[in-house]
Subunit: 314 residues, 2 copies
């Protein structure tokens, strides 16, 4: 029995990443209904918006779903309170110290998973007593680690420090990549980018279309001195890249960036002045289809790749 | 039958990367004798030195071995002439245009493989008529692509543009990672870093020991505006990193770098002022053992990981 399936009471060990501006109740419920684990991305939500999404998600699915809370945003405490008040039993935390909320959430009966990008944070997760770890490689979209460790090398590194249930993330958008993650020692996968380009994602249509056009080398890890984040190269990207090359201070950079650039790009569809967070795997995404179909395709690819690999003789 | 095994007439689809200062005749012959394909790294050799290595390698093994020639170094023409004069039948070219030498080498009966880091170069390889492609991800040590595409995402991207024999490189130092590469669609793997930390590698003992101490996040892709190269963070790295952050010109940077820093570090053992090229996978390398033992360990790990994966039920 797969440990992640058991932990969350799901059919397939596939988690849809909780992403800002892209993963509301529609996407999360679609993935959960299809047998994976959908996550509502609370990072871009005010507490009352998260509340709405939770209520709608419960109406849309009887299957388990969870909430992802990045701990760098304001109103984190209020977000956690919403989660607890609505009796949510699966919480993914990211971008912060797992010691801060894990025991409180577990006391309330939550399964707690924390996202890491290096072995040091993985060790902190063990100390905090999380139920599982997401290890996310450099190729992933959005926020990322300063170590720049890729999924191929990160999963074995994390496996050297712990045997607890491990979810691989970063660069996974197909059944082949899922099989590769399992081969590396993961129990399950977390998939972000591929689900952004789904019918149910709340990303703006222009952003979804841009993902389909994204090729090899069109994303780059940026803002390394503030919070590393993988972005599509556009005017916004070029602007901050030029500033970084001029060696401006972090404060100056933050001022120029201003606020709301992620919303402007991913949610409102400004493809040049907005911040467009997506993973390298975008280069192999070629259509916008329902989330359930994405999940079924991945499962089929996984099974057929597994057959191939099992026939592979040295 | 594995296409790479057939192409090179080898037992295992494992290629030892041709690396400057680390892979002379001792390492190449040890790997070939163990059933893989050893490569002499000609990038750090004068033509007469390469000649010596070829002669010694032929004495040390009756198995096939090859030569890697990075096409950015001086005396490339002389190196190719040495290769042809000594009737070498396997040539890996890298860091340059595959159109330049492929047909001439193939006319002489050579199998030609070119190393790429993006889909554009892979398409050029097809045009040039290479026999196989090495696709090398961002996590690899030494020279690298500007696209920063990781092995996990690069292999599927290359597979989308070609069906020719494909060798995955970057982040592969174990049988699990080898299995992951096969799952992603590769026919074989090229392994560098793991073989640098072998008894037969010509790397300085201090460098081999440094690899063992290397942890998560201790290497970084550097010199992005000259030729991107993955290095261990040391005084040399900090020096060039500071210059890059100040926004100095490429010419200024080249002047400060001077020559011979790679030799000073990897071959002469200066751990602070030398250039130390190694992949992220170094963080999971914990011993210096004979190359044949490394190969056997990888094979065993591969077989046992394969059994696990074949039992993995969704």
């Amino acid at each position: 029995m797969n440990r992640i399936n058991t932990l969350f009471n799901i059919k397939y060990p596939i988690i849809q990443a909780g992403m800002i501006w892209c993963s509301g109740w529609k996407l999360a419920s679609a993935v959960s209904n299809a047998g994976g684990l959908g996550l509502i991305g609370a990072g871009s939500m005010y507490p009352h918006i998260l509340e709405e999404h939770i209520i709608k998600c419960k109406k849309a699915t009887e299957k388990p779903f969870g909430i992802n809370i990045p701990m760098i945003y304001p109103q984190v405490e209020e977000l956690f309170n919403v989660v607890l008040r609505h009796n949510i039993k699966i919480v993914f935390t990211s971008a912060g110290n797992p010691m801060k909320w894990t025991s409180q959430l577990k006391d309330q009966g939550c399964k707690v998973v924390h996202v890491v990008a290096n072995t040091k944070s993985a060790k902190k997760c063990l100390e905090a007593g999380v139920d599982a770890i997401v290890a996310e490689g450099f190729e992933a979209g959005g926020h990322n680690g300063k170590e720049e460790t890729t999924t191929m090398t990160l999963i074995p590194m994390i496996r050297e420090v712990t045997d607890i249930p491990l979810i691989a993330a970063g660069g996974i958008g197909s059944g082949r990549a899922m099989l590769a993650a399992i081969a590396l020692g993961a129990d399950a996968v977390q998939i972000g980018s591929r689900f952004v380009a789904s019918v149910e994602s709340s990303a703006h249509a222009a952003f979804k279309n841009r993902i389909i056009e994204t090729g090899d080398g069109d994303t780059l890890l940026s803002l390394k001195n503030v919070v590393p984040v993988r972005l599509i190269r556009n005017d916004f990207f070029n602007e901050i890249h030029a500033l970084e090359n001029q060696g401006v201070s972090i404060e100056q950079l933050k001022n120029v960036l201003g606020h709301g650039r992620a919303k402007k790009g991913m949610f409102e569809g400004d493809m040049e002045n907005g911040e467009l967070e997506i993973g390298q795997v975008a280069a192999t995404i070629h259509n916008i289809i329902p989330a359930g179909e994405i999940l079924q395709t991945i499962i089929q690819e996984f099974e057929s790749a597994k057959k191939e690999v099992c026939k592979f003789e040295l």
